[in-house]
Amino acid sequence: MAELKGWREIPIGGVIDKPATAMAFKTGTWRVMRPTWNEDKCVHYMMCWLYCPDNSIIVKDERMMGIDYEYCKGCGVCASVCPTKAISMEPETKFVEEG
């Protein structure tokens, strides 16, 4: 979070005057298990998209395009509801670069 605002800069009542500011908070850092998508197995059944609690399944033109790792918390619901097992969960440590 940025530095604290003075009282003159805060809207009256402390209301949040812009919608969807939580988008600035990247919850992807919470992730322990990473869902990896196998495009060849995917039949675009879209259950993962319907269930994803963090809206992290990217869709376009009725097709799944990938996973948004900026917000994905790695719960694995997408993998559990997939009828063709096109999403598999792998430990996040596998993707950390050495060094």
Partner: protein
């Protein structure tokens, strides 16, 4: 009109258009955002603009941590006990604005209140009853995680018997919670001119069809959605859809609706599984299973859900084509 998931993906390919956005701080695998997003997508798909009201609870505190908000639609929170009366007030305010010509009269706006089981079964019950009795046009969605999970797993009127909570622990004195879960749908359905239903995230299309029906209903409507808390049900993070599906298959959470007193069971599984299967899948019953009274409690629960199912079938038969008004 049946809900088509491909159609929904086309309409809501932009995550901001759903209403609840990413970046909220609910636990990974929490079923509450699933409950919310499915309902909001149906409402927007039907062409309504939505105003949401929240009761205090996990959903409220995690989506609106200052200075962030995970809502891209008009949102109001007031207190724990009055989600229903707050949304009723909002509905009345919009009606007044329309009357004064400050809003177009034909603008389709719907009002949805989300509350947890603490804010519905216990604390918000009289506000809900009052708002339903005054016949405000709103939809109240209860996401039922069977306890005060936000404050760390205290028992609520919704906690099932034998479940371990910090205020009803399993031990020598008592085998977890002693009482049965309150039947909230029957309580709401006892009001006049109301639509009340049960649903769960494990059966998304059944749920979304009920949301559609509820939004089109003239008057107050109520949907109780079984929506697991992965932390305090002590289940894996990815288990919310499968465990709720099992809840339907074991008669623990029968799916039905009551429209003006007419009962209709919306899902009748061909065969049922024993309730023990549902209990064994969850860590909150782990200590119960070790308790000497476990078999008695589980068989009593099995007996209860069997009788409730028979009663529902009988009610469906008895109330067919006989609306209360």
């Amino acid at each position: 009109m049946a809900i088509n998931i491909k159609q929904l993906t086309k309409e809501f390919s932009d995550p901001l258009s759903i209403g609840i956005t990413s970046g909220h701080r609910l636990c990974p695998g929490c079923a509450a955002p699933m409950t919310v997003k499915m309902a909001l997508m149906v409402a927007k798909h039907l062409g309504y603009e939505v105003v949401v009201g929240l009761a205090t609870g996990c959903l409220e505190v995690s989506t609106t941590i200052y200075p962030y908000t995970a809502w891209s639609i008009p949102y109001i929170h007031n207190a724990f006990e009055n989600a229903a009366s707050t949304i009723a007030g909002v509905e009345t305010a919009y009606r007044a604005l329309k009357k004064k010509g400050k809003l177009p009269v034909d603008k389709p706006i719907k009002f949805i209140a989300f509350a947890g089981d603490g804010g519905t079964y216990d604390i918000g019950l009289q506000a809900l009853s009052g708002a339903v009795e005054r016949n405000h046009n709103f939809l109240y969605i209860l996401y039922d995680n069977e306890g005060y999970m936000n404050t760390g797993n205290q028992r609520s009127g919704s906690t099932p018997p034998g479940s371990e909570t910090t205020t009803a622990p399993v031990g020598k004195a008592i085998p977890g919670k002693l009482q049965l879960k309150k039947n909230i749908v029957e309580i709401v359905a006892a009001h006049e001119n109301v639509y009340a239903a049960t649903a769960t995230v494990g059966e998304p299309f059944d749920y979304m069809n009920k949301v559609e029906k509820a939004l089109k209903f003239e008057g107050p409507s109520f949907i109780a959605v079984l929506s697991p808390c992965v932390r305090f049900w002590r289940i894996p993070e990815d288990a919310a859809p499968s465990i709720t599906k099992l809840a339907v298959e074991t008669k623990y959470w029968p799916l039905y609706e009551v429209e003006k007193g007419v009962y209709r069971i919306t899902k009748k599984p061909r065969s049922f599984k024993p309730i023990r299967e549902f209990i064994e899948k969850q860590g909150r019953f782990r200590n119960l299973l070790k308790h000497p009274d476990a078999d008695r409690i589980i068989s009593e629960l099995q007996d209860y859900v069997d009788k409730r199912w028979e009663r529902l079938l009988a009610l469906e038969e008895a109330t067919r084509d006989k609306p209360a008004r």
